[in-house]
Symmetry: none
Amino acid sequence: MIVKHGMNYLTVLNSARNHKLAPPLAVLRRQQFLIRVLGVRGENRMQGSKFEADSDNILRAITPVFDPNRHKGQAGKVAVIGGCREYTGAPYFAAISALKIGADLSHVFCTKDAAPVIKSYSPELIVHPVLEESYSVGDRDKDHISRRVVAEVDKWMERFDCLVVGPGLGRDPFLLDCVSEIIKQARQSNVPIIIDGDGLFLVTNNLGLVSGYPLAILTPNVNEYKRLVQKVLNCEVNDQDAHGQLLSLAKQIGGVTILRKGKCDLISDGEIVKSVSNHGSPRRCGGQGDILSGSVAVFLSWARQLILADEGNLIISPTNPTMLGCIAGSALLRKAASLAFEDRKRSTLTTDIIECLGRSLEDICPAC
Amino acid sequence: MIVKHGMNYLTVLNSARNHKLAPPLAVLRRQQFLIRVLGVRGENRMQGSKFEADSDNILRAITPVFDPNRHKGQAGKVAVIGGCREYTGAPYFAAISALKIGADLSHVFCTKDAAPVIKSYSPELIVHPVLEESYSVGDRDKDHISRRVVAEVDKWMERFDCLVVGPGLGRDPFLLDCVSEIIKQARQSNVPIIIDGDGLFLVTNNLGLVSGYPLAILTPNVNEYKRLVQKVLNCEVNDQDAHGQLLSLAKQIGGVTILRKGKCDLISDGEIVKSVSNHGSPRRCGGQGDILSGSVAVFLSWARQLILADEGNLIISPTNPTMLGCIAGSALLRKAASLAFEDRKRSTLTTDIIECLGRSLEDICPAC
């Protein structure tokens, strides 16, 4: 599409500058957009040739086929820890995305202020108003309130296939202390944990919470990744050796899986590195990371279920469920974002992308 | 559809494993899905041949024809007892489903925390913030608050055609004590009661609440049924004699009606057993049981109204209004779930199914 009537893009551009019969601005802008998009794809293809994950096939392999003998809960029970006085959208995005992909039950554990708002977004979610922030807790009550908060979440823990910690969590010190304890409980119960948003702030300052836990996934964006690299590797981000640095980082944190979000998503568990660079959307509206964390939670649960059931007969690679979950989640979000952008263009919002999750999944992996 | 080009399904599968020209994964998955669905249908047909209810005809027979002389309330007034700090979606699903099927008025009695949220889901519902949980009641106040709560519900009791007890009720001991009293009042007023969700937890631990009441319906899912069988029959669920065991269970609880939810719904009042195995949806997202309880409430009200008016001239079988309500409710939910799944596939949620209730009813029983 760049070559038009025997002229390449630059010829068209120069011709536009020098002649009165220049193509209208809209055409030029469309051409500029295309060259950028195609450029990015070409670059990724070069970069990712040996690392690029076979993401659509992985997604198909781990998504369970429907079975009428199954009952409620067997397709996944996910919980999001997040939602405070300031943030209510993020935990909703993560939790509703999990349902839209196919989980049977999606819970949110948030503060009392946040709960009625998150509930009002959707009657499909089960929202527990159990977290507390410093402003509502006296110093003398902190110990017993902390114990109560942790116990409230812990009584549900065994039922969850995956925990997402961080969307809209905020940075209140008392709340984060409670969440540290919740992470410890999840680890004891062998429940996979995805750490995103403010959860990454917490974990970057206390790496012991996840270090050495193979069922932990960190999903940093550009700034969160920078802080993580500085903290763990004691250096700056090195984009010349992005794969190698990510591998070292994941290894250094004891084999957790890291999904480094970007133009092309890079994923490593300290053993291998994979990239997902399928076409997405150029819109960077807030909330897409929350869709990703909710999606990864579901795919990780399915991959783990499959691996536990198959006992080694899997024909897909990689075989680490956290890697598989990240690859499938990244691929699905990219497809949904691309469909939403096709339809909504500049006004694409996170809710539009969520509305495209079902169609995207159906395109890649038809239900029947 | 399983036999393709002279090969059966296993041949196809083996051929796929052994040859380079294997069918693509998507084709195999589709075949696996079909073999399961067809297998189940075949099994149900065998199992259900003599038990299968004539559900569409029953639904048509009990759904009232429109009459311009009727006034508000005559098509049904339903109340849901449920909704607490944690759960607000479930009572909403039950109450709005009742309206979407054709009830004139739908009430919800819930806790003070839950009320604004449930109200915010829909202006169509009448939501009473009257229930109380232990955390908001001091020990010394319990007696008079309990009396007040029960009186608040009781002053409405005579107006209701049916009560649904349990969706999103929670398990707070004080709240459940109040609900026990509400059930007793409903029984005294001869108001039919459908017990679902946490209501079943309450009733399984106190069978006297419903035992011997012919206008009670219990709607257990797989786990709730297991607990009920253990408690009442002192044994495990026996799927080899599912019909016989359900019959014994209903008889043992003094002729209440039990709708055992599953791949095929089984219904018994201790006298007969009927099954509904129409095609539904393979999605098991939470909330479908709430649609069912709201639907059964409406159909039971209509069947009872019809039976009381006809005084024995009914030409349908069975003639017990609780059986008729369960059969029609189950058939309608299955049709709506099937339509929603056709459209939304893996991302089908409970609200999507509710949106299909009207069209499903119209397909089976056109309004005019």
